[in-house]
């Protein structure tokens, strides 16, 4: 069935948008940097840098407990940041728990909900395309609880098989399905709505790792059907040191607290305490206030561009990169072949050149790509690749930068004689 292509356009030219990101004017060896590593961390616009700087210059104070004017201002800015992030992902602010990053968000679920609900003989179901942040916490949980960790296979085109999901769920032991919304290794956009529906029908809960999704496409956490939705700030052009766990308020209220300390308590008795309302219950200690303010500015920046338009631009660049990289001799591209089915990244291997060497030779031309071990062991074995190179794109990237990548790859092939 043909679906009318989205025609959302960015409100400003990519050149104007690029000018908002000071780092993009850096040069190495006389060459302008081509930053193709936004899936690792995105660059920051002036608006985010300025929000953080202005917070420290004008408004710094501790939140939640002081009566003075500066504290009120700090609180207003920090909670304003929460509200802006909430609005970007379609959630009420009270359901946005600020954590350090997506890893901490997932670990929060592991230490609170999962410890109470995943027991001996139960199954945590993840997939072969997960980031290690959505693998290792579940390995630790399963070891601790005597539960079993199972992996959904990824097919040759980087997709999950929903029939296999049904089979695993039919076993009746799955308590949690934890998968990436968009894979950081293959780029696959997973059918999260269907996954959630099937998991719920089988009595399992769903955690989605939205670290790659939120920066690049419209996300409404309720529409995903997830019970838990984790994402990080620094990949969505915000600061490092702040991320988000979203869950429905009733669920957050049922869960035991995570870290104990100040700010998360209602009353402290000699031998026990009662908990603050959510999300404060999960935010012990002085939070990353400036980062919360900065993340709010990032959410505002993205909202002003329009996530439909951000997505449309990135699909265009990704489609171009897929075409050009695939056209090189001896190159294998991993993941779904169609840019419309994937996030804005391309993982690839060049026969005869290790990705680390590719990244080094790209670096000589000021083209930043990622090389490394993105895959979990089972997938690595099956694809037969020890490591991959990855180019990833954000709203500030252009097809001209893809051309520079291709030039660098051609040069690497020349040097290695392949």
């Amino acid at each position: 069935v043909a679906v009318a292509a989205r025609t959302a356009e960015l409100p400003r030219s990519v050149e104007e948008i690029r000018a908002d990101f000071p780092i993009l004017s850096r040069e190495f060896g006389g060459r302008r940097v081509a930053y193709l590593d936004s899936a690792a961390t995105a660059q920051k616009p002036e608006a985010v840098i300025e929000a953080i700087s202005s917070y420290y210059r004008r408004s710094n104070a501790n939140v939640h407990r002081s009566m003075h004017e500066l504290a009120a201002e700090a609180e207003h800015l920090y909670e304003g940041g929460r509200a802006k992030v909430a609005s970007l992902v379609g959630a009420p602010p009270r359901e946005i728990v600020f954590v350090r990053n997506a890893t901490e968000a997932i670990n929060l679920v592991r230490y609170t909900w999962a410890r109470e609900h995943v027991g001996a003989g139960d199954v945590v179901l993840i997939s072969e395309m997960e980031h290690h942040s959505n693998v290792v916490p579940w390995q630790l949980l399963c070891q601790e609880q005597g539960a079993e960790l199972q992996y959904l296979r990824v097919d040759d085109q980087g997709r999950l098989d929903l029939a296999e999901l049904d089979e695993r769920l039919a076993g009746g032991r799955v308590r949690l399905v934890a998968v990436a919304h968009v894979s950081n290794v293959l780029g696959t956009i997973n059918p999260v709505g269907e996954i959630s529906e099937r998991a719920h029908a089988a009595g399992a809960m769903v955690l989605l790792d939205g670290s790659q999704a939120v920066p690049q496409m419209p996300v409404d956490v309720k529409v995903t059907g997830a019970d838990f939705y984790a994402f990080t700030g620094h990949k969505m052009i915000g600061p490092t040191g702040i991320g988000v766990l979203w869950a429905r308020r009733e669920l957050l209220e049922e869960m035991p607290p995570f870290l104990g300390g100040g700010s998360m308590i209602k009353a402290v008795e000699d031998d026990h305490s009662t908990w603050a309302t959510v999300p404060a219950k999960f935010e012990a200690g002085t939070p990353a206030i400036a980062e919360g303010v900065g993340l709010g500015a990032a959410a505002d920046y993205l909202a002003a561009l329009g996530m439909d338009a951000v997505r449309a631009h990135e699909v265009e660049v990704t489609a171009y990169a897929l075409d050009r990289i695939s056209a090189l001799d001896g190159v294998t591209v991993h993941g779904p072949p169609d840019a419309a089915e994937r996030g804005s990244l391309v993982s690839f291997a060049v026969e005869g050149i290790h990705p680390h060497d590719l990244a080094e030779l790209c670096n000589r031309e000021a083209v930043c790509i990622r090389a490394g071990h993105h895959f979990v062991q089972p997938l690595r074995r099956r694809l037969g690749v020890p490591a991959t190179a990855r180019a990833s794109f954000s709203v500030y990237n252009t097809t001209a930068e893809v051309d520079r990548l291709i030039g660098a790859l051609e040069n690497a092939k020349r040097i290695f004689g392949v």
């Binding site: 680390h356 080094e360 030779l361 071990h373 020890p386 040097i415 290695f416």
Partner: protein, 145 residues
């Protein structure tokens, strides 16, 4: 001509010397470079406290694999005490080029596994940045930033 990826290195990368298993061995060790997943293992046969024979096996980038190949012949005949004294300089002299901080672990992985096999250590050879921060390199980075 690319300094790092010159013919000498690429030749050792594509046709590495002393890469195989040793059926008769007295020591072995393997490890990986956590940065990029380069894997390297070594099998060693001793005559007294001297390396009589040694073979590497592994997968990884050109620098990690070529370095193992290049230093392999040089290591044969060395005593355990001599191997203990080897550091970053040994490797960079053998391959004939300084390695940038980002590639140093690639270049030192083969020496690390040899020292691991013979000395029972899991430390990186001295001269690795985290082990022994190179003051001049730190200064250079400071100036650049």
């Amino acid at each position: 001509m690319d300094q790092l990826y010159r013919e000498f290195i690429l030749d050792h990368y594509t046709t590495p010397r002393n890469f195989a298993a040793l059926e008769q061995r007295d020591a072995e060790f393997q490890d990986r470079n956590p940065l990029c997943g380069d894997e390297m293992g070594v099998h060693i046969k001793l005559a007294g406290d001297r390396i009589e024979d040694l073979r590497f096996h592994g997968t990884g980038c050109a620098i990690s694999q070529a370095t193992a190949s290049i230093i392999s012949d040089e290591l044969k005949g060395k005593t355990v005490a001599e191997v203990a004294g080897l550091d970053r300089n040994f490797v960079t002299e053998e391959i004939g080029i300084e390695l940038s901080p980002t590639r140093l672990k690639c270049g030192l992985l083969s020496l690390k596994v040899v020292q691991g096999a013979l000395l029972g250590t899991d430390e990186w050879p001295s001269g690795t940045p985290e082990q022994d921060p190179d003051a001049s390199e730190v200064a250079r980075l400071r100036n650049e930033i």
